[in-house]
Structure formats: C-alpha cells, structure tokens
Symmetry: C2
Subunit: 194 residues, 2 copies
DNA sequence: ATTTCTATTGAATGACCATTCAATATTATA
DNA sequence: TATAATATTGAATGGTCATTCAATAGAAAT
C-alpha cells in the first residue's frame, strides 16, 4: 500500500516534470533539473521513479487523465440538464478552457512516442476511445438524432475536432484563429444536421 | 556558392539523421551517433551544421519538402488528365504510399517543436497553407463545385484528413484500420457532395 | 607551382546525464 | 521502547553529449 507521503511526492514530481517540459520540452528536462526545481536531490526522484522511462510514462498518464477531465464535467453538466442538446458539448470542445489545462507542446511530444512504444500507444488509443464513447452517450440522448448511427457520428465529429486542433496550433493571428474555429464548429454542426 | 561536395554531404547527413530518428527518435539521435552511422567524425557534421539546432531545422525542411512531394505528383497527374474529378486526389490522400515516404514518429516529433520555436511553426504553417491551395486549385476545376466556396471546402477536407491521420496512427488492427479509412474517406466525399 | 579555399581528421573540452550507493533521518509497527 | 520500513540526503560513477581546435589533405584558382 502506498503511503500518503509517497502519493504526494509522486504527484509533486510529475507536476514539476510537466511544468518544466512545458517551458523547455520533455527532451530538455532532466531529472537533475526537476530536482533543482523542486528542491530535492535527483536520487529522491529516482527513489519514486526508478528510471526515466517510468517517469515519462507517468507523465503521460498524468496528461491523459487531465485530458479526460476536460470532458467529464461537460458530460455531468449535460446529464443534470437532461441532455438538452449536444451544442453545449461542441461549443465547449472548441473553447479556450481546453488549452489552459493541457499544454499542446507536451501533449504532441508525448503523442509522438506512440510510434516507438506500444504501451504509450495503447494508453493514447484508450483515451480516444473513451472520448468517443462519451460523445456517443450524449448524442444518443438527442431525439433529433435517434435514427442516426451515433457511434459513426461521434467518430466523425472527433476527427474534425482533432484535425482542427492540429491545424489551429499553427495559427498565431487571433482574428484568423477565431475565424477558423467558426469554420470547424460549423463543420461539426453540419454533421449533426444532416 | 555551395560546392557539389558540400551539397551532397549535407544531404547525406540529413538523411542519416532522419534514418536514425526513425529508429530511435530525434531526442536519442546524437551527432556522434550520426557520425558513426555514416562513418565520419562528428566534427565533420558540425562543419556543415554548426549547431544541433541548425541540424534539426534542416531535418524539418527535409521532411516538409518530402511531404509536399507526396502531393505535387498528384496535382500534375490531375492536370494532364484535365482535372476529371477530385476523387483521385482523395483516394491518394488516404493511400498507403503516404506512410512509406515519411515516418509519422519523426513528423509529430518535429511538429511538437512548433510550440517553442516560431521559425519551425512558420515552416509548418506554410506547408499546410500550400497543401490547401493545391487542393483548392483542383476543386476549382470541377464543374460540379463551381458554385461552392472551394477555399472553405479545401480547409474542411484537410481538417478531416489530418484528424484522420492523427487518429489512425493509434490503430494497429489492419481490418479496423481499413474500416476507419472508409469512414473518413466517405466523410470527405460527403463534403464534396453537399 | 604557389596560394587559397574547402574538406576531413582526431583528439580534447567541460557540461550534463541517468543511475548507484551508503549513510542518515523520519515515521509506522510491534 | 525497540524494530522495521520508508523517506531523504549527498557524494560519486562512468558515459555521452555538443562543441572546439589545430592539423592535415585535397581541389580550385592564380
């Protein structure tokens, strides 16, 4: 059984790792640097995470958990509202709150590891399946959609959302950014309408 | 003016860098390792690429050039066929050839650098704008689409393609993969139909 | 043939890296 | 209180890293 200290320390270390990775990239964030940042010797970090790979895999779990946490409150909110309509969900998916919770640089850095690590790939896939299931659940409550293949619809919507986030991350100009967001939001609404 | 030797050596080094990055990731590919792989001292590499950052930025140019090269032959092909229809393009975008030319792991690793490096971001953005312009050009030749906003359409299509590639890279099962490809292909065709 | 420029070599640098270990402090258990 | 388990420290390790430099070899220009 893990002690309270152990749990807290682990979280502290992972959060420090995340913080520094946000600023300088995972590849430039060493165990020594995390230690210095948190005021502890590197050996303590290695006491809780025996190898760097283990540390990274914990950072990924941390990130994916956060990502899921962006969605779950929306689902709950919709549930108490008796699933009035899925627009709440779509609006929220394209909102700013998202970007505040998770750094895209760290996210895509970690994502790029799926191509050489099956466990990481499995974790990422699992998250994305969960997200799709969540959306399906929401769509299923909408009467206007009760003749549609909501699993398919959910898949199609997320592909737009994920493609949009990829593309939007290259756009600096605020006005242009908003413009593009509108386009992609409408693209999702079109899917819901047809 | 660059000598022939210089041009060849530079390409040799970048290709070696790409090769090793494919196998072990950019972050695990040192200048010494590239040197050993190519049978040359690290100092020779640094003679042509004075810093590691410069080396990386050249790798990125190399990758993005390759990516553009996937599309340009399709455009040419369509041009001599007198732009019969954009389906050729769509089919090609989802075909296997793509994956052979560029490693997704390296691609997304490099992509993740846009968040901390404006030059890299600019390069990525530029590529994506070019790709969209290319597609617009093709769509503009299709009479069935002559009342549509082809710039918008091109944007929407690419968002599906890019989201699809992101999602598909997590799927190992061949059958499932093909199934998903069909879904996303149809999603693009739906955009063209409406 | 001499000079100038480029290409290539190999050794050396100090910085930083992940990881190990033995010692000490703290906390929980008996 | 004694013992066992966990938490923390700090120093040390060997390896790898990007980068520097001076020396040599070769090609091109004069």
């Amino acid at each position: 059984m893990a002690t309270k200290v152990s749990v807290d320390r682990k979280r502290e270390i992972i959060e420090g790792f995340y913080q520094l990775s946000k600023e300088n990239g995972i590849e430039n964030t060493s165990i020594a640097k995390i230690g210095k940042h948190l005021g502890m010797p590197p050996s303590l970090i290695m006491h809780y995470f025996p190898t760097r790979d283990i540390l990274i895999s914990n950072l990924i779990s941390f990130i994916l958990k956060r990502l899921l946490q962006i969605y779950t409150p929306i689902i709950k909110e919709l549930r108490v509202q008796n699933y009035t309509d899925p627009h709440t969900f779509v609006e929220r998916m394209f909102s700013r709150d998202w970007n505040l919770l998770i750094d895209d640089g760290v996210f895509y850095s970690c994502f790029s590891l799926i191509f050489r690590n099956d466990t990481i790939k499995w974790e990422y896939r699992n998250l994305h399946l969960k997200l799709r299931e969540n959306l399906k659940e929401i769509l299923d409550q909408d009467e206007k959609l009760n003749k549609k293949d909501t699993a398919l619809l959910s898949e199609q919507i997320f592909v737009v959302v994920e493609g949009a986030y990829y593309y939007l991350s290259m756009i600096d100009d605020q006005e242009l950014y908003e413009q593009k967001v509108e386009i992609f939001k409408n693209q999702v609404y079109d899917l819901l309408r047809v």
